[in-house]
């Protein structure tokens, strides 16, 4: 019952929740979404796909394991605000190096705790994800609601350009091992692929490396010709934040690459999957409140096996995309919760993609075989 600074979260529909501040102080806005994973807050904070969003954790005790140097998915914290029921100020974990509060302060991200996150979650579930303003300065509900209403939504915003790398870089580093950190893979790379960075999670790159696939990570706006000039063995389209449609330069690049070099294996994850869909003529749709969690059942329609997957997306490739006459793509994976599209592959070309996150981090490792699939395509070539 120590005196804590107040903080307010106001939603565009007029809903206002009061709580207490942790992390940085200030004011920020974003699309308010909820994440149902019980572990992995550090990975969530550092996942560039949350750019432009205020993330509510449905699990109630956050901060338990502190922050360590090994579990970051990128170089920074990208989301606009972090909402929890109870922030645990004293972490307990042998790898913890700092508290969540310190980390958020360092990265200038506002946290709010002590509010009814279940109410917020139910509200977002019923009303849909919506814009919100998180503030520790202006605490006036009416002001904040007005600000939330004035703030832009995710639709039509190119957020990838805000989170992509500035310069290309090479990546070849192994998956995390207890006591080892991220060791260099024992063998030199067998393949070298181009990875278009729309906000790539490092564990994707590690997943590739651990199979002998080195990546040249390229800024999102790298044109097709430049990519092909690198003579890569394959192309990887990364995850990333928000709406895929405004990432038109990448959609165009993919279209061009497929045309110029149809035999090039392509693998897309999440936003990369949507961009692939857009490149082949589908219209993406926005989900009511998206999928953000680590327990989504996805069925592989070929084997009927079910994987428990990590997910984080608000937009999707619609199912009717596959119903078109002469459609080049076939649906390969389905979400069993709401029957949304989770994966597809080209009927003739070595191109496939998934909506979920086979690299996990956070979440179960059930779907890592997607990386093997990419490796197979590289080998077949």
């Amino acid at each position: 019952m120590k005196k804590k600074d107040k903080a307010v979260l106001a939603l565009a529909d007029g809903t206002v929740l009061e709580g207490y501040a942790f992390g940085a102080r200030g004011i920020s806005f974003g699309e308010v979404v909820f994440h149902t994973g019980m572990t992995g807050y550090q990975e969530i904070l550092t996942d560039p796909s949350y750019r432009g969003q205020i993330v509510t954790m449905t699990y109630t005790q956050i901060g338990n394991t502190g922050i360590n140097a090994e579990d970051a998915e990128s170089r920074s914290v990208w989301l606009s605000g972090f909402v929890v029921k109870e922030y645990m100020a004293r972490p307990s974990n042998f790898r913890s190096e700092m508290t969540l509060d310190q980390y958020l302060r360092e990265h200038r991200v506002i946290g709010i705790e002590g509010l009814d996150t279940r109410f917020l979650t139910r509200h977002l579930r019923d009303q849909g994800a919506m814009t919100g303003v998180l503030s520790t300065e202006d605490l006036d509900p009416q002001n904040l609601v007005a600000k939330a209403q004035a703030a832009p939504t995710l639709i039509g915003r190119d957020l990838a350009k805000e989170v992509t790398c500035e310069k290309p870089y090479e990546f070849y580093e192994g998956l995390w091992e207890l006591g080892q950190g991220h060791p260099q893979p024992e063998k030199p790379p067998r393949f070298r692929v181009a990875a278009l960075d729309f906000g790539i999670k490092t564990n994707i790159l590690r997943g590739l490396s651990s199979r002998g696939i080195a990546a040249m990570v390229l800024p999102a706006k790298t044109p097709a010709e430049e990519i092909l000039a690198l003579n890569p063995d394959g192309l990887f389209l990364s995850n990333g934040p928000g709406d895929p449609e405004p990432v038109s330069y990448a959609i165009a690049a993919v279209r061009k690459i497929v045309k110029m070099k149809p035999e090039l294996p392509i693998f897309g994850i999440c936003l990369g999957h949507q961009i692939l869909g857009l490149a082949f003529g589908c219209k993406t749709l926005k989900l009511k409140f998206g999928h953000h969690g680590a327990n989504h059942p996805v069925m592989d329609l070929a084997t009927r096996e079910v994987a428990i997957t990590s997910q984080n997306h608000g937009f999707a490739v619609p199912e009717d995309f596959f119903k078109k006459e002469g459609q080049a793509f076939e649906l390969t994976h389905l979400n069993l919760n709401d029957q949304t599209v989770e994966g597809m592959r080209h009927r003739e070309l070595p191109i496939f993609s998934v909506q979920y996150h086979p690299e996990a981090s956070p979440g179960p490792h059930d779907a890592v075989s997607r990386f093997d699939r990419f490796l197979d395509l590289l080998e077949e070539r």
Partner: protein
């Protein structure tokens, strides 16, 4: 994969009587399985020896056998029913072991019965320590270094290499029976010996200690298509070294990062696949080094377990039900999630609250047992609480325990002064050695100024949990300060406190006001509990199941209906004296009222039970059974009435305060309850009805008590008032020992007087359950105890109908019971206890509520008494219900009690007025002696057909013992006796060999018992000296698993049963057939 259609009949084996380590969670899992398989159209055959289970209700399975759970009996069931499949994974270790035995005996092959769920090799791989170790090494997982040994010699060979502390774990035992931690060579030898003895396969594992490491559990499910999901992760607050059944456990795991958690998850998937559990649930335990995260696999249960029951309640994912469906061929994605109704079962539940389970201990019942927690489970029950934070759920769990605790009260009082060095030393020791009150010790340590780091070093409780306890303690200090300043209980502080989980009652203590005042202040400030739903998915999908818990937040999701509703208060944690029987009654009440169109609302906090299955009642509130929490629910639901008489003492205690708060109590009025419980009013009632009770008196001081005893004359029965299960009740034979026991009774009695009754020596005790509707009373059953009066009714074997009472006595007992029921205007159940001596009937006690024997009686007569009673309470008459006359079955049902003595070294097994049994079994047969033999077999006692019988009895029993000895002799037994008894028997012309008493030196009787020469022990004793002299006889008989009788009536019945068994073996018959033959 759709369900299999090559199976028609499935056999399910239950887990038998409630014992430490195996409680009503297996009634929950078995009941779910039977229901699920029946729904799928299978013919279900069930065997279980425990009548107080919902699974043995005759309408649940197609064929229900209440028979002993031993291979030869189950083989008879298989021969009679010819099931195609046996599902062994839902009846605990008992069912699993039995299935293995049946397979190894060739019975399953002979009758072509397929094991479904887990096959024999998988069971072996998981249960055999050596095979398990090999399997784990194969998939690259680490285990603590260990060696398997089968004899003491082998164990000795290891002595040089063992690092202390070393853990001794017997194979194939439940609840870690026989497990121990040896810290030196002497203990090593002792514990190895005990462990070898306890293991049915004489196999123990000597394990490198990972004591002090963190302990985790994962609940895993797999389907036939190799899909695996984790239902729940559980973190133990107690470190390795405390049995998980005795640990405070928390879901979900709190101190693992995602990376570390995924290592564990990957391991769990690999383990269940490698072991090859085909379908269903398994529980896997891990130890994690807090210093570097190194992980080791501890063990795996290839079946549903106590933890799966907890995980089901903690997440809303019904593991046993799904396991049953997977066993018959479905895959996870083909099964719907009941709660969301739109998503499949092939997912991993995610929760948005914290679940805390706290075990309930009963050390006070076993003088001599040390309150020290080790690798062998000692708790008798548990509670679970749900809160939005750990602090809230912990505090809710504490007040659910029924130990008169409402938070982390100070156990060490120091009135603001610094604790003395001696007190600090004691406190440190209390932190170092885990015991049942360790949470309070931790709180006290913070109050005494110990640093968190030191408390961690001593207790090895993870700093994360310590920090939360510290925050609770610090909040208490702050609250005290705030409340001191503001006389009107500052609303902001009050709200913050409620969010931390503080009870009104604890806040009252902190504020120095009454609980009522706190509640009033709270209401005035508009601070009310809200209710949230348990939905498996953290609100991502809509929950259609009203499974609720309270918290203090913004939104209330209870959404009460406008139907006519009845609230049923459950029984809380299992403990000795209050167990599954009361849960059975609550479930029956709910089912009956639901059938009659009422909306039923269950309130309970025991995760093991059927009552807390969200499927049982229309609405479930998983809440502590305290006045505060019940009033919150009543405010929310506004029920037609509340039923308090089915859940035992716990809800009954709430009857008066609830009534005072204006809550309508259904059934017998609280005044009538008081009239039966208050001794003065009760005496007046008996006087009015012209009924007799043993001479008695009450006393408020030891001197007064002595005067009463003198007036009545010894022996007397001394007992405190207002206690359950005969706590601190004693029979005192002389003035010399009276003072001591009177003092003990006062200790337990607190403010209330103690009661002194004349003890009727060698009287027959009788228990009666009766239903009344205010104008009519009908006897449900009259049970004649086998042990004489003086043995607690819960510990005594009993027969229905009476096997020796005359018709006149039975008629008189019937008359008296009805007279009292009508005079008290009982609406519902009433239980009366009598002693019959020389044909005279004395009333001992009357309780106008459901008794422990209601399920037994219901099973014995084939009528559901609790259901009838519930309907009466809701307004129906017995005439309307068609229950207007007594039923007298043409077969005998014998109930026998089951005791936990083996878990408590140094505890005497003698029976007395204090109840110590944990569970019960039932034997049914047209012949009394055979029903008795079945009850003994079911309770784990194999009566021998021949051999050497040892007899040593007190003087007053010698004449009776001579008759028993003669009978044994006629049956071909040889007799051995101690000097005095031998002399007496020989004087009657019997050939008896003499053996030395222990104090007379080796070779003595205990040597003979240990070497396996004795087949049966008959040992009665009186007086503290001879009791302690003969202690080792009874104890070694117990450890050798010999039949032992400590009362003459018990021995008589036992010998008669042996005679009958020699004539013809036991046979089996389902309840459904017994009921058809009833008059």
């Amino acid at each position: 994969m759709p369900k299999r259609n090559d199976i028609e009949t499935i056999l399910i084996i239950g887990s038998g009587p409630i014992v430490i380590g195996q409680a009503c969670e297996f009634d929950y899992s078995g009941t779910q399985a039977v229901k699920a398989l029946r729904e799928e159209g299978f013919r279900v055959v069930l065997v279980n020896s425990n009548p107080a289970t919902i699974m043995t209700d005759p309408e649940l399975a197609h064929r229900t056998y209440i028979e002993p759970l031993v291979p030869e009996i189950v083989a008879q069931v298989i021969a009679a029913e010819r099931p195609q499949a046996l599902l062994p994974t839902l009846g605990g270790q008992t069912a699993l072991n039995l299935a293995v035995e049946l397979a190894e005996m060739g019975v399953l092959d002979q009758y072509q019965v397929e094991l479904i769920g887990a096959k024999l090799p998988a069971i072996h791989k998981a249960e055999n320590r050596e095979l398990f170790k090999q399997a784990m090494l194969k998939i690259g997982l680490k285990l603590p270094r260990s060696d398997t040994v089968h004899s003491l010699e082998e164990a000795w060979k290891l002595v040089g290499t063992v690092e202390y502390p070393a853990i001794i774990r017997p194979s194939f035992t439940l609840g870690g029976t026989g497990g121990n931690v040896a810290t030196n060579e002497k203990e090593y030898e002792e514990y190895c010996k005990w462990g070898l003895q306890e293991s049915p396969k004489h196999e123990i594992l000597i394990e490198q200690s990972v004591i002090g490491w963190k302990e985790f559990e994962l609940e895993v499910m797999r389907d036939l298509k190799n899909n695996v999901v984790i239902i729940c992760s559980i973190e133990n607050l107690d470190p390795m070294g405390v049995h998980t059944g005795d640990s405070v456990t928390i879901a979900p795991a709190q101190t693992l990062t995602d990376k570390e958690y995924q290592i564990m998850r990957d391991a769990a998937l690999a383990i269940i696949r490698e072991i090859g559990v085909d379908t269903g649930g398994s529980n896997i335990q891990f130890a994690v080094n807090p210093g570097d995260g190194e992980m080791m696999v501890i063990e795996m249960n290839p079946r549903v377990s106590r933890s799966s029951a907890l995980a089901s309640k903690a997440t809303g994912f019904p593991i046993a039900k799904i396991a049953a469906k997977l066993a018959v061929g479905y895959t996870l994605d083909e099964i719907q999630n009941d709660i969301t109704r739109e998503t499949p079962a092939s997912f991993e539940p995610t929760i948005d609250y914290v679940v805390t389970k706290v075990p309930r201990f009963a050390f006070e019942k076993f003088p001599g047992a040390e309150d020290k927690l080790t690798t062998q489970m000692k708790s008798v029950g548990e509670v679970m609480a749900i809160g939005r934070t750990f602090k809230e759920s912990l505090q809710k769990a504490l007040r659910s325990l029924e130990i008169d605790s409402y938070g982390l009260e100070e156990r060490i009082k120091h009135n603001g002064r610094k604790p003395s060095p001696a007190a600090l030393k004691k406190l440190r020791e209390n932190l170092r050695t885990p015991h049942s009150r360790r949470l309070w010790s931790i709180a006290d340590a913070f109050r005494a100024g110990l640093r968190l780091e030191e408390i961690f070093q001593l207790s090895r409780v993870d700093p994360w949990f310590l920090q939360s306890i510290r925050e609770i303690v610090e909040s208490e200090q702050e609250l005290k300060g705030v409340f001191k300043k503001s006389r009107n209980l500052d609303p902001a502080a009050l709200r913050a406190a409620k969010q931390l989980g503080f009870s009104d009652r604890r806040l009252a203590v902190l504020a120095g006001v009454s609980e009522k005042e706190v509640r009033q202040a709270r209401k005035t400030a508009g601070i009310e509990a809200v209710f949230k739903r348990v939905d498996t998915c953290a609100a991502e999908f809509e929950a259609h199941t009203p499974y609720l818990y309270s918290t203090y937040e913004r939104e209330d999701e209870a959404r009460p209906t406008d139907r006519q509703k009845i609230v049923i208060l459950g029984g809380g944690p299992n403990r000795i004296g209050q167990g599954i029987e009361f849960d059975y009654c609550c479930v029956h009440a709910s089912l009956a009222l639901s059938e009659d169109g009422w909306e039923t609302i269950m309130v309970n906090c025991n995760p093991e039970t059927v009552s807390t299955d969200y499927d049982t009642s229309d609405r479930l509130y998983f809440e502590p059974l305290t006045l505060e929490n019940v009033l919150d629910i009543v405010r929310e639901e506004k029920p037609f009435g509340v039923i308090v008489q089915f859940g035992g003492q716990t809800p009954l205690k709430l009857a008066v305060p609830l009534a005072e708060a204006g809550v309508p109590i259904l059934g017998t009025s609280p005044e009538a309850i008081d009239r039966a419980e208050d001794r003065q009013l009760f005496a007046e009632l008996l006087c009015k009805l012209n009924l007799r009770q043993p001479e008695n008196g009450a006393a408020r001081s030891v001197a007064e008590a002595e005067a009463v005893a003198e007036r009545i004359g010894y022996p007397v029965l001394v007992r405190p008032s207002y206690v359950l299960g005969g706590r601190a009740m004693m029979i005192v034979h002389d003035r010399r020992s009276f003072r001591h026991f009177a003092r003990e009774a006062f200790k337990v009695s607190s403010d209330h007087p103690i009661l002194i009754d004349r003890f009727l020596r060698d009287a027959v005790e009788v228990d009666v359950d009766c239903v009344a509707d205010g104008t009519r009373a009908v006897i449900g059953g009259i049970m004649e105890h086998i042990e004489e009066a003086g043995v607690h009714s819960g510990d005594s074997a009993c027969a229905l109908p009476p096997y020796s009472l005359s018709e006149e006595v039975v008629a008189e007992i019937t008359r008296q019971t009805k007279a009292m029921a009508l005079e008290l205007k009982v609406k519902g159940l009433i239980n009366a206890q009598y002693a019959v001596k020389d044909g005279v009937v004395y009333v001992l006690e009357v309780n106008p509520r459901a008794s422990r024997t209601v399920p037994f009686v219901s099973k014995a007569i084939g009528r559901p008494l609790a259901k009838i009673a519930a309907r009466v309470m809701a307004g129906k008459s017995l005439a309307e219900l068609g229950f207007i006359e007594e039923l007298k079955p043409e077969y005998f049902s014998v109930k026998e009690a089951v005791f936990p003595f083996v878990k408590f070294p140094n505890v005497d097994v003698l029976l007395g007025p204090e109840m110590r049994s944990t569970g019960e079994v039932m034997g049914i047969d047209p012949v009394f002696e055979r029903a008795y033999a079945k009850s003994q077999l079911a309770a784990g006692t194999r009566l021998p057909a021949s051999g050497l019988a040892f007899i040593s009895v007190k003087d007053s029993d010698k004449a009776a013992a001579a008759g028993i000895a003669l009978n044994l002799h006629r049956l071909g037994f040889k007799i051995v006796a101690t000097k005095g008894t031998a002399k007496y028997l020989e004087s009657g012309g019997l050939l008896v060999s003499t053996v030395r008493k222990v104090k007379e030196g080796s070779p003595h009787i205990v040597d003979m018992i240990r070497s396996g020469e004795i087949a049966v022990v008959i040992n009665t004793t009186a007086g503290s000296q001879s009791i302690s002299d003969s202690f080792s006889i009874r104890r070694s008989a117990l450890l050798m698993n010999l039949p032992y009788f400590t009362t003459i009536p018990g021995a008589l019945a036992g010998v008669e049963a042996i005679a009958h068994l020699r004539r013809r073996g036991l046979s089996v018959k389902p309840l459904q057939e017994y009921y058809q033959t009833k008059p």
